[in-house]
């Protein structure tokens, strides 16, 4: 059974804090993604990575950075959290010709 595990289901952080969201996959797949989901806006891609230490900006990278030091782990970093980053964050991974598999999501609230 494919597993994408996000470190937290729910997080509450203060404005200005540095926030780390961790994601681990167990399939040795190349591609990993971070999305955020907001009502009416669907899934918007923040960053993706197609290999260790490689990253590409998605549609909404501003205010975020990522790290992929090991193949199985892809971290999303909010450098200085703001209230407009309150959202559901979804990590996903895929192989070369496979569908994307998602984690359970992290509901982040910035107060």
């Amino acid at each position: 059974d494919v597993k994408v595990t996000q470190s937290s289901r729910y997080l509450v952080k203060r404005t200005g804090e540095k926030v780390f969201l961790e994601c681990v996959q167990d399939m040795d797949h190349e591609n990993m993604f971070w999305y955020r989901q907001d009502p009416g806006l669907g899934l918007r891609l923040i960053y993706f990575s197609y290999d260790v230490k490689m990253k590409e900006k998605g549609d909404i990278p501003e205010g975020y950075s990522v790290s992929r030091e090991k193949k199985e782990r892809f971290s999303l970093i909010l450098e200085s959290a703001s209230t407009n980053q309150t959202s559901m964050y979804l990590c996903a991974m895929s192989g070369l010709n496979t569908e994307a598999f998602f984690g359970q999501g992290t509901r982040l609230t910035v107060v």
Partner: protein, 112 residues
């Protein structure tokens, strides 16, 4: 610019009837299309996919139809069940690309 569009934010259907969810895309390079289902507070789960070399793919109660000339795909659920109530996302990718492009989702409610 949204390359994958779901123009119906919501849909209500009676239990036992057919649900039809629609999706349009603009990029003719897309050749792999997927549907995902999402419950609140959970991650999306893969439902069904179709390659551009086909025009139909079936899996149990779920069928996806692809009309390449119209750049349109649809998901049919027959018969609809209350447990099908969820948000459905359409997605697309091209063969040499890594990235998936998602629509904005359609919230399906199946009324018992």
């Amino acid at each position: 610019d949204q390359q994958v569009k779901q123009n119906s934010p919501s849909l209500s259907v009676q239990e036992g009837r057919i649900s039809i969810l629609n999706c349009d895309y603009t990029n003719s390079m897309f050749d792999y299309f997927l549907w995902y289902k999402k419950y609140p507070a959970e991650g999306p789960t893969f439902l069904i996919s179709i390659s551009s070399i086909k025009d139909k793919n079936e899996d149990g109660r779920f069928t996806v139809f692809l009309n390449k000339s119209a750049k349109h795909l649809s998901l049919h659920i027959v018969p609809s069940q209350p447990g099908d109530s969820a948000v459905y996302f359409c997605a697309a990718r091209w063969n040499t690309g890594n990235q998936f492009y998602f629509g904005t989702g359609t919230s399906l409610t199946v009324i018992p």
